[in-house]
Symmetry: C3
Subunit: 300 residues, 3 copies
């Protein structure tokens, strides 16, 4: 159940990062990347394969803040599926193509002024990404090279290991309450599995966004390294995980996470229904419109 | 199930604090409190409202050790209900009117020489307080300015945040086993939710009472501050919690705690039955009488 | 479900300790032990009773690496049962008769070239030990004076308290994935109860074997002391636990652990069936034969 609530919105500065198209005001420029690397994937999710190593790097490239639009989610899942179905690949590293924002989370534009069918389709795509990532047979490592609020944090939390760049501006957390929203129960379950019940209770209620040192201390990430070592650290961590026989590791991962995934699988339809019913309320729609409008003005 | 057991009673010094009317031997003197503060509430639970701030301070005043007598519990729940039903109030701080003892926990006199109906009524009142506090819509912060063994600790654990005075005499913990008693399962669940399974397993079996530094380390409290800063710290923590939209925070709290509450709701009658059946045993009644007698002599 | 998987076997050095008859190449020499101590127990599990103190020390003596053979398991359970049924004893300390290896875990020879009935009997015995130890009415303390991989770690995890010798060679952990095996769900549950979900997820997938400092930090043991103080520390910890009335402590232990035990009790037959079906596969049998052969050659 994602429920929007009181209109007292706090910490506006932080919220800007949450809303796509608002935070950085960048427009897409050139595609970054090394020379001679075969690439595949879509426009929004760059996949840089390293077949010899059995891994690939997936770079989020949905400017300006890698918001989880329906198109992004769809391309993400397709790219992930391709890697999973290709025996060449045993692991994937998730990172942002543009350091500064790992992902700003859900895309409010997919919920504002859209019909119920679209909202349902959107929410199903959000669920789908989580379901696939959380139980992926691949070793999935997050190389978090930017802020990761809300849905961006969720993506990092689904990974097997999280490396975060030591930049105090890179905040991480499920900050839904700051916007008057409640994180869905499976966001909550994922957080509890990662940092425990008490820390999750406090972090979720206060919508805490943790800077790197605190994220490490609370257990939200596994390692904090200088910004220019995020990628290399992710690679060496990957090597450690790939040293384990795949089948045993996959079954163990499944044993640890299946019960959590099953809860959403069982409640999937009612979770969609709840989301659509909530988001369709007049008060919520007005709020979203007002909010998006305000951000456009700020940009302009 | 609260079950009393072997009669080998340990750590008598600690137990004294557990039994109301024994520990401090103080008699009630004057009502403390600031000048010009409108107060309401009952005789045993002073409520100091600050309508402008949207909060109230509830001060336990059930001398000598704030034991949870039936009257105290009843007044506590009524005061809490009043605050919850008054839109003016969004948060409440729980503290002791007399520093030294936050609350010594359950009142043995409610169980000794009483008929089953009274014991059942008493236990229902203990359940009621926990049920209401643990899911209260208010932000509930514990300003723990004294020892909080057993039921006193439980009250602190139900809060959203715990500030403890840095006084090595202020011990905190579910020390039931020291008296040959077993904490009810919902005491246990509350502790596990706070400090995790392993720490709870050890603390509960050994009946550990933690001094402030250890309480902080194990996660039983969130902050330890000098004794004269407990109140001010509680207030500034409250401000942080009130910065969050109420509705989102309340729904999030509910999402985190409802499953735990539902377990007692489902087992409430059998939990009462177990308690009454246990407490009515001849051996237990003799033990309680002997114990209360011994404490009276010490006082005399 | 214990499932063997990919044949890519890692970290051979560590594996040697896992397989009985391989690691140390020692042959049994003399029975260690103090003078004048009445002993009972079996050939493989020495029981040194101290009736005055109400405790006994159980020393694993199944050379060379205290592997959990069917005979060892049977003798272990019988010795434990004897102590539990003798009101003289309130606590037991588990340790190795030969420092260096606490226990190397399951005995592969009980699974290799054996008929299904034998494998079923063996697995039932492994379950039985865990079921009895994890809910034992005795205070059970592990004095871990050697390495404890896989099943050896499990035994330590079932105890009420773990003291580990501060020797960097004494590694501890559920390293099943290193061999392409998956720890059964009840091994997993025991670990999660001890170190929490996230740490267990990482430790189990990577098959981590922790040296003492890390074992302490992650919460896998409660205390690390110099090697010559393991026994004395275990004794003083025991005194602390025995200060608690037995009945209250036992009921509390039961309350903390019963749900975990019930899961296996409910799934016991299917867990055996899964194990036998897995272990009977041709590919697994070939792998075990090859593995045992290789180790014999190394010894020769």
């Amino acid at each position: 159940m994602a429920l929007m609530a009181g209109m007292r919105v706090q910490a506006r500065a932080l919220l800007r990062a949450w809303l796509p198209g608002a935070a950085l005001g960048r427009t897409e420029s050139a595609v970054s990347g090394g020379v001679g690397v075969r690439r595949f994937g879509s426009q929004r999710v760059l996949v840089e394969p390293d077949p010899a190593a059995g891994i690939a790097v997936m770079k989020f490239k949905n400017p300006p803040v890698n918001s989880l639009s329906l198109e992004f989610l769809t391309e993400f899942v397709i790219s992930l599926e391709k890697l999973e179905n290709d025996k060449t690949f045993r692991g994937v590293i998730l990172t942002s193509d543009r350091p500064g924002v790992f992902s700003a989370g859900l895309d409010l534009r997919e919920m504002c002024g859209r019909n119920p069918a679209h909202c349902a389709e959107y929410w199903k795509a959000v669920q789908e990404l989580w379901l696939r990532l959380y139980l992926s047979n691949l070793v999935v490592i997050a190389a978090v090279n930017g802020s990761s609020p809300a849905g961006g944090c969720l993506i990092a939390l689904t990974c097997d290991y999280r490396v975060l760049a030591d930049n105090p501006k890179y905040l991480m957390g499920l900050n839904e309450t700051l916007l008057g929203i409640v994180a869905p129960f499976w966001f909550k379950d994922t957080l509890v599995n990662t940092i425990g019940h008490r820390a999750a209770e406090r972090a979720l209620q206060l919508g805490l966004l943790f800077p790197p040192a605190e994220a490490l201390q609370v257990g939200m990430v596994d390692k904090v390294v200088p910004e220019d070592q995020v990628q290399s650290t992710a690679l060496s961590v990957m090597a450690q995980w790939l040293a384990i026989p795949d089948h045993a590791r996959q079954l163990t991962k499944n044993m640890m996470r299946k019960a959590t995934v099953d809860r959403l699988v069982k409640e999937r339809d009612s979770d969609i229904k709840n989301f659509v019913s909530f988001i369709s309320r007049d008060s919520i729609q007005k709020y979203l419109q007002m909010y998006l409008e305000k951000l456009k003005q700020k940009k302009g």
